[in-house]
């Protein structure tokens, strides 16, 4: 485990270690850290903003940076779909509902339930620590070569896998369509006063 931590540290902090100066973080790593920082900061703003519209906007920023992270993971199709579905549809829906209910005004003061919040913070800290340790403990870092992962995210690869009867994705895909249909019907039933 210590070894893994060391390896991780070398990737991030090598600039501060004398003798490793020539091992500056490479461009992909820089890009990653920029995107990750944007994602984390905007995610924090989602939680800390009292105004739901601003929360929603911050979430859009998170989604966009996550989409760009997908591109760094060579998942181009997922990236595009992430923007189209999350940023383009889901978040617009959120904004729409916020505006419809006219909830734009800042909410009242802090929650009354202090114990809940403290417990949540403490538990979250433990949770985060555990989550952060998990990959260091369990991961071998020998990822596959660039060539092997290059075409993973193309539309043709995903389509060929999704619709290949020999792979287990076709049935879930069909089931998803039924799920969406049910959701559509459910949303209409819920939202319409008189059907």
């Amino acid at each position: 485990m210590g070894n893994a931590l060391c390896r991780a540290a070398r990737g991030t902090c090598s600039a501060y270690i004398p003798g490793y100066l020539n091992a500056m973080p490479s461009a992909p790593i820089l890009v990653f850290f920029i995107l990750a920082a944007v994602a984390v900061i905007s995610a924090l703003m989602v939680v800390t903003n009292v105004n739901p519209v601003r929360s929603a906007l911050s979430l859009v920023v998170t989604f966009l940076s996550v989409a760009l992270l997908y591109i760094t993971l060579s998942a181009h199709f997922i990236a595009a779909v992430q923007i189209i579905v999350y940023a383009g549809a889901i978040m617009v829906l959120f904004l729409f509902v916020i505006m419809l209910l006219n909830l734009g005004a800042p909410a009242e003061a802090e929650p009354k339930n202090k114990a809940q919040s403290r417990a949540a913070l403490a538990l979250s800290a433990v949770f985060l620590t555990a989550l952060a340790l998990a990959p260091l403990v369990t991961f071998s870092t020998d990822a596959k070569s660039e060539a092997a992962i290059k075409n993973l995210g193309t539309v043709s690869t995903i389509g060929a896998s999704l619709y290949n009867p020999a792979l287990p994705w076709l049935f879930p895909f069909e089931a998803t369509s039924i799920l969406l249909l049910v959701a559509v019907v459910g949303a209409i039933v819920l939202a319409k006063r008189r059907i």
Binding site: V126, A134, V137
Partner: protein, 703 residues
């Protein structure tokens, strides 16, 4: 070449569908009845033709005379019908001599009875419903005999039971008919339970329900090799259990002691039903099943002995009761019980071929007798009591003739078919491998004597003695479900009067005895010819034995099997013939001397005679059953099962659990605050605990 065997099964089903939906197809009742009366026998006879073709082209040319073909054309025989968790059953038809023999009997004799029924049921308003059930019965019976595994046989088994129920209570407006149907159904359930348990036992031992499979994976093949599914040698106790359970099923279906009580009551149905279902085909299903499982039974001598004893007892009891019956159909019903006992006797001594031979001959002459009695009843305008008949020989000579043939055939008059099959059974009984040959032979002969006696008694009371009714003033006594039937029928029949000389138009005022229409007589002639010829053609020539050989296992008990028959074959023939002639003669002498009354004693002396009362009460079986199952069993259920087991044990347990849950949850429910975030916190706590635990485990493992 593709197999056409599926047609045998599907044709009657097609007919069934047509008849069932005839009401939609033909708006006019007359047109509907006419169409049904052509379609219903037509499909069965077509199935018979297909059966012959399949027998010639597919079975006799096949190696080992055994073929498995798919039930549904186009599928492979291996296509599973049910495939759940290792349990597999196929949609296959097993074509071998046994199944083809039964298919021929069912479709051939069944077809004749269908033709007969078109005449017999011509006036019934619900004739299409009748033929719907009839064709469905044929379909189910064919499934039973042709199915390639026990499950399909079971489907057919239950199907014929249902059809039997439907047909017994066909005239359901009469409460007695409905009750008779219920009785048949319920008694059969007892047997079916045995069959079902037997099937389960078979599956647990052999892991399959197919009779035959590829590379010896069928039940029969494994049984023949003395191994079970895992290749271990068969446990004889288990096989005995299986065979006994299967035999319980056979008892129910084939009306053996103690489950025979339904068969006499089943005569409430229309006579063609009695002929087809309760004489020729369905009741022999038990024998067929035993023969089908002969490989199993020969592994279980105990079960075989049970079969033999039960068969003997049934034969004897049935014959004794037959002596005192006055209803023409009931005489025949008890004779059927008795003859079925003969068949099981044959199976019980290991001579399945003889049993099946008797099935075949019995199907011919018993169908003939039933149909003949039906013709008599038809001529007498619904009268079934022999005490009110007599002297019919002059009035309906053609019917008398065929009844005469049938009587001599069943009595075992030399060189008629019953003679050969019964002699075969008696011969093998005398050579019983269980060492009780003398007893079996003796009782068998006694039974044969009684058979000849009561059959000739029936003939005398019906045909020879003086008429005990006034011709032309017979009471019109038509079975029907509907009162308005009379009126509708009246108009109907008058319209038809010119078309055929049926003469039923005058039925209400009082009818004359008349010969049956050709649609009823022609099947009788055919059956009469069969009753004469089947035995002598197939029996002594050993054709039948060779034909059935691939389907029947031989009882091989090693040195035990070397039992010499009591008497040589020729002597056996002579004894059998003498017994038959003796029985016939005794009846002729006794009844010939009392031509006026047709009774040996008066009614009053009958009542006083305890033996007579005992026999007329059917050996008190119904009384005992009533006492044991209805009275005592009812009390037991009421006092113990309901008041103690159900109320205290079961309800108490359920209510106790509910109370405990209520109390516990009353305290725990405080946790439910109604705030989602509190629950979410709980979930997070669980997740963190899980994650930390896993991390700890991983680090320990990786160290």
């Amino acid at each position: 070449m593709p197999s056409y065997a599926w047609l045998i099964v599907w044709l009657p089903l097609l007919g069934f569908l047509h008849n069932a939906f005839a009401g939609y197809l033909y708006k006019d009742l007359a047109a509907r009845k006419k169409a049904v009366s052509y379609i219903a026998p037509g499909v069965v006879l077509a199935a018979f033709v297909v059966t012959l073709a399949v027998l010639k082209n597919e079975v006799l040319t096949a190696a080992d005379h055994r073929v498995i073909v798919p039930l549904i054309p186009g599928l492979s025989p291996e296509t599973p019908w049910i495939n759940i968790a290792g349990f597999k059953a196929n949609f296959g038809l097993l074509l071998d001599p046994l199944s083809m023999l039964m298919a021929m009997v069912v479709t051939g004799i069944g077809g004749l009875i269908h033709i007969y029924a078109t005449g017999y049921m011509a006036e019934d308003r619900e004739q299409p419903r009748f033929f719907t059930y009839f064709n469905l019965f044929i379909f189910m019976m064919l499934l039973l005999v042709l199915g390639s595994n026990f499950l399909m046989m079971f489907v057919g088994w239950e199907g014929v039971g249902s059809c039997s129920y439907l047909l017994i209570s066909f005239w359901y407006t009469d409460e007695n008919n409905a009750k008779a149907g219920n009785k048949a159904f319920i008694v059969n359930r007892v047997g079916d339970l045995g069959f079902a348990l037997g099937m389960m036992a078979i599956w647990s031992v052999f892991g399959t329900l197919s009779y035959f499979g590829e590379k010896g994976t069928g039940v029969m093949q494994m049984a023949a090799r003395h191994v079970d599914l895992l290749g271990n040698p068969l446990n004889i106790g288990v096989v005995t259990l299986i065979c006994s359970l299967l035999f319980v099923g056979a008892m129910g279906k084939s009306a053996q002691i103690p489950l025979w009580v339904w068969l006499p009551d089943a005569m409430a149905g229309p006579t063609p039903v009695s002929a087809l279902i309760h004489a020729a085909t369905m009741v022999t299903a038990g024998v067929v099943m035993l023969t089908r499982c002969s490989w199993l039974f020969v592994q279980a001598p105990g079960a075989l002995q049970l079969v033999g004893w039960i068969g003997l007892a049934t034969a004897f009891v049935g014959a004794t009761i037959g002596l005192v019956q006055s209803d023409i159909k009931r005489v025949l019903a008890f004779s059927t019980v008795s003859q079925l006992g003969y068949m099981f006797l044959a199976c019980g001594v290991g001579n399945f071929t003889a049993g099946m031979f008797h099935v075949l001959t019995h199907a011919c002459f018993k169908a003939l007798l039933f149909l003949g009695s039906g013709a008599v009843i038809h001529s007498m305008h619904g009268e079934q009591d022999m005490r009110k008949m007599g002297g019919l020989k002059k009035l309906i000579p053609r019917t008398w003739f065929v009844m005469f043939i049938g009587t001599y055939a069943i009595a075992g008059f030399p060189f008629l078919s019953g003679f050969f099959s019964k002699d075969e059974i008696l011969g093998s009984a005398s050579a019983s491998p269980w060492g009780n040959g003398v007893l079996l032979y003796g009782v068998g002969l006694l039974t044969a004597f009684m058979t000849a006696f009561y059959m000739n008694r029936l003939m005398h009371k019906t045909f020879y003695t003086d008429a005990r009714f006034v011709d032309g003033e017979l009471h019109a006594h038509h079975h029907s479900n509907f009162d308005e039937h009379e009126d509708a029928h009246g108009a109907d029949a008058h319209a038809h009067e010119g078309a055929n000389d049926h003469g039923h138009g005058d039925a209400h005022g009082g009818g004359t005895v008349h010969e049956s229409p050709p649609s009823m007589m022609i099947p009788l002639y055919v059956l009469a010819v069969l009753s004469v010829l089947v035995g002598i053609v197939l029996g002594p020539t050993k054709i039948f034995e060779h034909f059935l050989e691939p389907s029947v296992a031989r009882l091989d008990l090693g040195p035990l099997a070397e039992v010499t028959p009591l008497v040589p074959e020729i002597v056996g023939w002579v004894i059998s013939g003498a017994i038959a002639i003796g029985g016939l003669t005794l009846a002729a002498m006794l009844y010939g001397s009392r031509k006026q009354t047709g009774e040996l004693t008066t009614e009053a002396s009958k009542v006083k005679n305890p033996l007579y009362a005992f026999l007329a009460n059917k050996w008190c079986f119904d009384l005992v059953y009533n006492k044991v199952f209805i009275t005592i069993g009812g009390k037991f259920a009421d006092r113990v099962l309901w008041k103690y087991v159900d109320v205290r044990l079961i309800d108490g347990a359920v209510n106790g659990v509910a109370n405990a849950v209520g109390k516990i949850s009353g305290t725990i429910r405080k946790v439910q605050t109604g705030y989602v975030r509190n629950y979410a916190l709980g979930i997070l706590f669980g997740v963190v605990a899980l994650l930390v635990g896993l991390l700890a485990q991983w680090t320990t493992l990786n160290r």
